[in-house]
């Protein structure tokens, strides 16, 4: 409830919210710190922090590489959790963890959720945990009051969407297209039909992600989605121009 409410409050003031994504420890925690600062200062409404995993099955090349490089530099789950706590303490926007299920499973579901909740983390995106596999996780999320973010996709039937909506909290992550993160999406008629189906299936806010690159993409989403998600784009930006390029980029998006 907490996350959904926070987002709804923000929605009152803006056409569309912005959620961004970073991979923890890539290129370094210091860079993460600087990037997040610039994001928050330039009006980002929510940030998903990806705890790197050695098998990022649902990610595209940019994020895969970021996961690997972060791990290669020695990033530990413990470092990520400490960093997450620090960010939630520092900034007044909602932070989410994005990671693959094994990271949580291995740590211990309850321990992980408890710690995240105590740190002030608001939600979880776990791309390889459909609700059928996540019974205990969903129960614990309820217990610790963190929002499990469920995912709609263009291949989801109406029936599947309402089923997913029943488990989701905070918002629904609508994947813009088939495929992995990082490639450009088309926002044509098919996409609009898809988004209408999403809207019908849930009353939760809708975030749209995968391949959103620029102001134009975001413009196209206004009125149809509540949140635009910028993922690989900022990672590439940091790689190419350094953390200080992030602020101006974000500022120019809306």
């Amino acid at each position: 409830m907490q996350l959904e409410q926070q987002l709804r409050d923000r929605t009152k003031e803006k056409d569309i919210l912005l959620m961004t994504h970073i991979v923890l420890g890539y290129p370094s925690f210091d860079a993460n710190r600087e990037v997040i600062r610039q994001m928050v200062e330039n009006g980002v409404d929510c940030i998903e922090m990806q705890i790197p995993f050695s098998e990022p099955m649902a990610d595209g090349p940019v994020i895969v590489k970021a996961n690997q490089d972060s791990l290669a530099k020695g990033t530990k789950v413990e470092d990520c959790l400490a960093f997450g706590t620090e960010m939630a303490d520092t900034y007044d926007i909602p932070f989410l963890y994005m990671t693959y299920y094994n990271i949580i499973f291995k740590y211990g579901e309850e321990a992980f959720l408890k710690r995240a909740a105590e740190s002030g983390i608001q939600g979880f995106i776990i791309p390889d945990l459909p609700p059928e596999m996540g019974k205990s996780f969903l129960t614990l999320a309820e217990k610790y009051q963190v929002s499990p973010i469920l995912i709609f996709t263009p291949t989801s039937t109406d029936a599947r969407m309402s089923e997913l909506a029943g488990y989701g909290q905070g918002f629904i992550y609508c994947v813009a297209r088939r495929g992995v993160t990082g490639k450009k999406s088309e926002f044509g008629q098919d996409f609009n039909d898809y988004l209408s189906r999403c809207r019908e299936a849930t009353s939760l806010p809708l975030a749209v992600g995968f391949g959103i690159q620029d102001r134009e993409d975001i413009e196209a989403l206004k009125g149809k989605a509540d949140i635009a998600v910028i993922g690989s784009r900022t990672i590439r930006l940091v790689e190419e121009k350094g953390p200080q390029a992030v602020g101006p980029f974000i500022a120019g998006l809306r």
Partner: protein
């Protein structure tokens, strides 16, 4: 040994898949369920395998080896005589029939040793499907001949340069393709791992091995074997031969994992017979993985590319937990010795993967009594491994030959 409705075997298995694949898995599960209920499907499968591959594959009585060890009678199930040279054909052809029923036009697959890639490319040629094979860069380097054949069979081979650049990374990349091209593409998973229904489905197709072997040992030997040995990579050939014998009271089933440089070396692929592995969830399923405390997958090592994998079939993990299958491991050097002995004594060349099963059996067979019999599953043939085997034996004339050839090519 059937999966529950969420695809679990005991605590293991499941389908930890990206949501975009949900629908396709529903369709796959339904079609698979229909096939299992339809005796005509199995008939079609048998007919395909007996006209295109060489089923039933023989069960060979290894008289010289039996004499040599002086213990039980050794029988070898000859999956090496399948078309494309390994048991992988059984699974791939079965999935091919399924793909035809589902009307998909394209298949993708991961491959480690290259065997499954060649088998899938072969099936795609036979069924007129487009085909893309994902293979880790390291495996491409050690198994180049298989890459050549896949390409010649009309498949596109994509070299995967992420992660450890081996099998698991190829699997990840195949999943990435699948989520992108889910509508017209089927992912032909190569072993009894991955998200449900793959572990059960692949085991079902492979179960033809054990069905034949049981019938054959009764015919040739007159009673059930005391022990059945199989190597365990992902677990498909092991499940294939074990399944039929699981109900048999006096048959012990032994899975032999890749001991690499030794169980204590850190350089191995032992998931069940050492404490190095722990429960985890990756590549779509829950099993024992070789992973660190954070849940990051570790590097594995085996002389046999096909066993060089971090996970293992959830069905085997369940059978291990319930003590229905015993797990052992064999080191690279034990395997090379077993290979050598098998060639010299019987004129049979097991694949490096299969040679693990032989090594495991040789360790024990001498202690059995001559009125017992054992079956070793020879999952594949070794002549596909010439580069690895000749290298591992450090054969000097092989090296000279390759040097000469290399010079010939560079000078042009």
């Amino acid at each position: 040994m059937n999966q529950d409705k969420n695809g679990f075997f005991g605590k293991w298995g499941g389908a930890y898949i990206p949501e975009v694949l949900y629908q396709t898995f529903q369709e796959l599960k339904e079609e698979y369920a229909r096939c299992r209920q339809d005796p005509a499907f199995w008939e079609e499968y048998l007919s395909l395998m007996s006209t295109y591959s060489c089923r039933p594959t023989p069960l060979t009585h290894a008289e010289n080896l039996s004499d040599y060890f002086g213990g039980a009678q050794i029988y070898i199930k000859r999956e090496d005589l399948n078309h494309t040279g390994a048991h992988k054909a059984n699974n791939v052809m079965g999935q091919g029939l399924l793909v035809k029923r589902m009307g998909k036009k394209r298949v993708i697959a991961e491959t480690g040793a290259g065997q499954h890639g060649v088998a899938t490319a072969t099936m795609a040629a036979k069924f007129g499907l487009e085909c893309t094979i994902y293979m880790g860069e390291e495996d491409v380097m050690r198994q180049r001949p298989n890459v050549f054949w896949m390409e010649k069979l009309g498949a596109t081979v994509v070299t995967v340069k992420d992660g450890s650049r081996t099998l698991k990374d190829a699997i990840n990349e195949a999943f990435r393709d699948w989520v992108t091209n889910v509508d017209d593409t089927h992912y032909v998973f190569g072993t009894a791992c991955g998200p449900a229904p793959f572990p059960e489905m692949v085991s079902w197709f492979q179960s033809i091995i054990g069905i034949e072997a049981a019938e054959q040992i009764m015919r040739y030997y007159g009673k059930m074997p005391t022990k059945v040995y199989a190597c365990v990579g992902g677990g498909s050939n092991a499940m294939g031969i074990f399944k039929r014998f699981l109900g048999e009271k006096d048959v012990e089933l032994i899975g032999v994992e890749a001991g690499g440089h030794g169980a204590d070396s850190g350089a191995h692929a032992i998931r069940l017979s050492t404490p190095d592995a722990s429960p985890g969830v990756a590549q779509g399923y829950k099993t024992m993985f070789l992973q660190d405390d954070d849940g990051q997958m570790k590097q594995t090592h085996s002389v046999a590319a096909g066993l060089d994998y971090v996970g293992v079939s959830p069905i085997l993990t369940d059978l291990w937990e319930n003590k229905q299958v015993r797990f052992e491991s064999a080191t690279d050097s034990e395997v090379m010795e077993a290979l050598d002995l098998t060639m010299k004594k019987e004129g049979i060349i097991p694949a490096l993967e299969s040679a693990h099963a032989f090594a495991g059996a040789y360790r024990e067979v001498g202690k059995l009594s001559p009125d017992e019999a054992i079956i070793i599953n020879q999952s594949g043939r070794g002549d596909k491994d010439i580069f690895t085997i000749a290298h591992a034996f450090e054969d000097p004339s092989w090296k000279e030959f390759i040097i000469g050839r290399g010079k010939g090519y560079s000078s042009k």
